[in-house]
């Protein structure tokens, strides 16, 4: 018998998070558009956050480690999106394409 919070066992959260992570990974691997790829990465970061907060809530709600790490994930996700999208915009202006498969040159 596993422990429940609001009638929900921990593994439900972990399963949703795992599924979300895998969907995000698929998006990051299989998309032909750099922005869609970044969307996949955001999904993965979100999945990681679900995991962090679920574990925090079930295992150590009295410390604040899980919250701190989740907050850092949020911050870094935003920073990553900002820089990534800026790069995409810059690349697009030069090559008029944001297909990551076509960006195989070091020099633009």
């Amino acid at each position: 018998m596993q422990n429940l919070l609001n009638g929900i066992p921990l593994w439900w959260y972990l399963a949703v998070s795992a599924a979300l992570f895998c969907i995000g990974l698929y998006g990051a691997l299989a998309r032909k558009n750099a922005i869609a790829l970044l969307m996949g990465v955001e999904l993965m970061l979100n999945a990681a956050n679900i995991n962090l907060l679920a574990f925090w809530r079930y295992l150590a709600p009295t410390s604040s480690g899980g919250l701190a790490f989740a907050a850092f994930v949020l911050v870094i996700a935003a920073a990553e999106a900002a820089v990534g999208l800026a790069l995409i915009i810059a690349v697009y202006r030069i090559t008029r394409s944001i297909d990551p498969e076509k960006l195989d040159q070091m020099k633009l």
């Binding site: 691997l29 999904l43 907060l53 809530r57 009295t62 999106a81």
Partner: protein, 239 residues
């Protein structure tokens, strides 16, 4: 079924459904909108976990900031025109992702697999000595031990831990510098001009330098720099 379980299942379905839409649709703007729905669902999960602070932060940052950035980028790059949703490695990616999901479910899920380590010694690498025969299905909480509730002051505790020298002060300050670097870098990258403009600029500069040198020579002084040869303009522009 309690109401919380029903809500959880509804939210999980919304999250996963919209996430699948995000990674399969060919309309990038709708993908961004569905991404917002996913984020909203995740905020709902945080509410179910009793972490209101992060539910709100999720809405504020992911919906209010990151999705806006994504949509702006979609608009700026016209990324949707003639878009093919999948690239050539989509099938391989799907298979890989499926395997990863199966492994994760084995690790996190309720399933317990019994493996004979004598036949598969490689599993002892993962399972260690603690439970030599059971792999996967890790029990994260000791059975029948109540989960403590979140303390009322969890926001204040969290805030205090962020500026506590023994806890997260260093990452907290590093984030300020990270933000600095991100801002500087992203502005530099995003505001860079087009190559054509750069070439035009360089050519004008070269012309001005040449004119100046000409004027100096006419004034009877030796030029500091030799006027650039014709080809030099193009070669400097490439870098």
């Amino acid at each position: 079924m309690t109401i919380h379980q029903v809500l959880f299942i509804v939210m999980a379905l919304a999250i996963l459904g919209s996430a699948i839409f995000v990674v399969t649709t060919s309309n990038l703007f709708r993908a961004a909108l569905m991404l917002i729905l996913t984020f909203f669902g995740v905020a709902g999960l945080f509410v179910l976990l009793d972490i209101g602070l992060f539910a709100v932060a999720q809405v504020l940052i992911y919906i209010g900031a990151i999705s806006i950035l994504l949509i702006f980028a979609v608009m700026l790059t016209r990324g949707m025109q003639g878009m093919v949703p999948r690239n050539s490695q989509a099938v391989a990616a799907a298979v890989t992702v499926g395997i990863i999901f199966a492994v994760l479910l084995l690790l996190f899920g309720p399933f317990r697999v019994t493996v004979d380590v004598a036949r598969w010694p490689v599993f002892s690498l993962f399972a260690g000595n603690a439970s030599p025969r059971d792999v996967g299905g890790i029990e994260w909480t000791p059975p029948n031990q109540p989960i403590p509730s979140v303390p009322e002051t969890y926001i204040a505790d969290f805030g205090r831990s962020l500026v506590d020298l023994n806890q997260y002060l260093l990452p907290f300050l590093l984030i300020a510098f990270l933000v600095d670097v991100v801002l500087a870098g992203a502005i530099f990258v995003a505001r860079q001009r087009r190559p054509a403009e750069v070439i035009e600029d360089r050519r004008r500069q070269a012309e001005e330098a040449a004119e100046e040198a000409e004027a100096m020579r006419q004034a009877g002084m030796a030029p500091d720099v030799a006027p650039l040869p014709e080809g030099a303009v193009a070669s400097t522009a490439e870098h």
